[in-house]
Symmetry: C2
DNA sequence: ACCTGAACACCGTTCAAGT
DNA sequence: ACCTGAACACCGTTCAAGT
């Protein structure tokens, strides 16, 4: 009735061999489509089941619970970065580092509705996540840092990318005008409450204050790379 | 029966003047206690009502919905940073910037269970949030950057703090050993899948790989400050 | 104005039963 | 082994009714 064409509708019990309607993979793909189209909150087990033309309880034979579904989605996102950029020795450490950062950001950007979940779970999940940092390690190893320095610098850079991506994901569109909002908010403050902010925003507002995520990311990256170069004399 | 001592239990209708049991403030304080003690998921409207000894629907006379409760909590957190550090002209830009960063991080750390919500909502909320960046602006204004440079540098630094705090919040304890987990994960990789990572982690693991959030934050901050100093010749 | 009870339309998950 | 139906213990929120 809801979906007249769904396979096996109205029959129950074990499907014949080769006729399974469900698999972990198929479930995760359907879940990702829901999240991309309608957001995290829309992804409920019951909703997921109906889009698959299946009883809600069937899902539990392939994934233990809802948290496992989200964990699986996070893995999908990380799997989508990795090995894209094979080792490239033709290029200096800074270029390689910048490339790794872009790849990482782009993977997070591919599914903005999932980003919050990814960032919250990043620590938690599987081997897939760990491979993803290889290019960062390689670039800084080539630059000649010590293991400890590499470890700390990579952590810092990835923290920046996470924070940046969080901000980017929380705004749907690619570009947005900060000006009206920020100007408005600042002008509502009691005078003297944030004088420097008021002054700076006033000056920027005159030129038309706006923010491009691409530029912001580039600025952050190169500030970070300048820090590395300065501190380690590169 | 559930709470024999709750005020006004069993009576309904409008309370007499001066006898109101509820207020936005009281509701938010109770909500924060629940979040701190049991996490975001435990904070449901029905749960909140019972801890206040009140019908769930009473809450809706003070806050329009659950999202507004969380938005109110986010405001509380930001209100907890601000004006702690009054302008201090005795000190150089770098010290002032570092101080602002610590204050910001500490406010986020005060309610780890709320951090994810705060970071997800940070863009969305009220004037309270905007005041919070004043010390950052002041420090870099004093350093002599242009308005545009200040704007971009502050964005970058705050992105780092957000990403860092996300990682910190997602791990409950103050310190944790990365070694067993990270070493284990890396050793499970297929050989050659992440050679540099494997090498670095191997070396660090020998010394006992561990991570202190306080040190990590300091490292990130000073890398960032080095970048500012190098780029702008300070 | 402020609080309440009953109701609606949802959830995730367990359990026993089908094939 | 895999799928199902009914049931349990929850949700957020609307609406009409109390004082």
């Amino acid at each position: 009735m809801v979906n007249a064409g769904k396979p096996g509708a109205g029959r129950s019990g074990r499907p014949r061999a080769g006729e399974e309607r469900l698999s972990r993979q198929a479930i995760l793909e359907a879940a990702l489509r829901i999240v991309d189209a309608e957001g995290l909150e829309a992804m409920t087990m019951r909703r997921l089941a109906t889009t698959l033309g299946v009883n809600p309880m069937s899902l539990y034979h392939h994934l233990p619970n809802k948290a496992a579904v989200f964990a699986g989605l996070v893995e999908l996102v990380f799997a989508g970065m990795g090995n894209s950029a094979a080792a490239d020795d033709e290029v200096d450490w800074r270029t390689e580092l910048t490339g790794a950062a872009h790849a990482y950001r782009n993977a997070l950007r591919a599914h903005p509705n999932l980003a919050l979940q990814v960032l919250a779970d990043a620590a938690g999940v599987s081997e897939v996540v760990v491979v993803t940092v290889e290019p960062f390690y390689r670039a800084l190893d080539r630059a000649g840092l010590t293991p400890r320095q590499i470890f700390e610098a990579v952590n810092t850079l990835i923290d920046f990318i996470h924070g940046f991506s969080l901000g980017e994901a929380s705004v749907r569109s690619e570009t947005f005008e900060l000006a009206p909002d920020l100007l408005e908010r600042v002008s509502k403050l009691q005078p003297g409450q944030a004088p420097t902010l008021a002054k700076i925003v006033g000056i920027l507002g005159a030129d038309g204050l706006h923010y491009e995520f691409d530029d912001g990311f580039e600025t952050g990256l190169s500030l970070f790379a300048d820090g590395i170069a300065a501190r380690f004399g590169l």
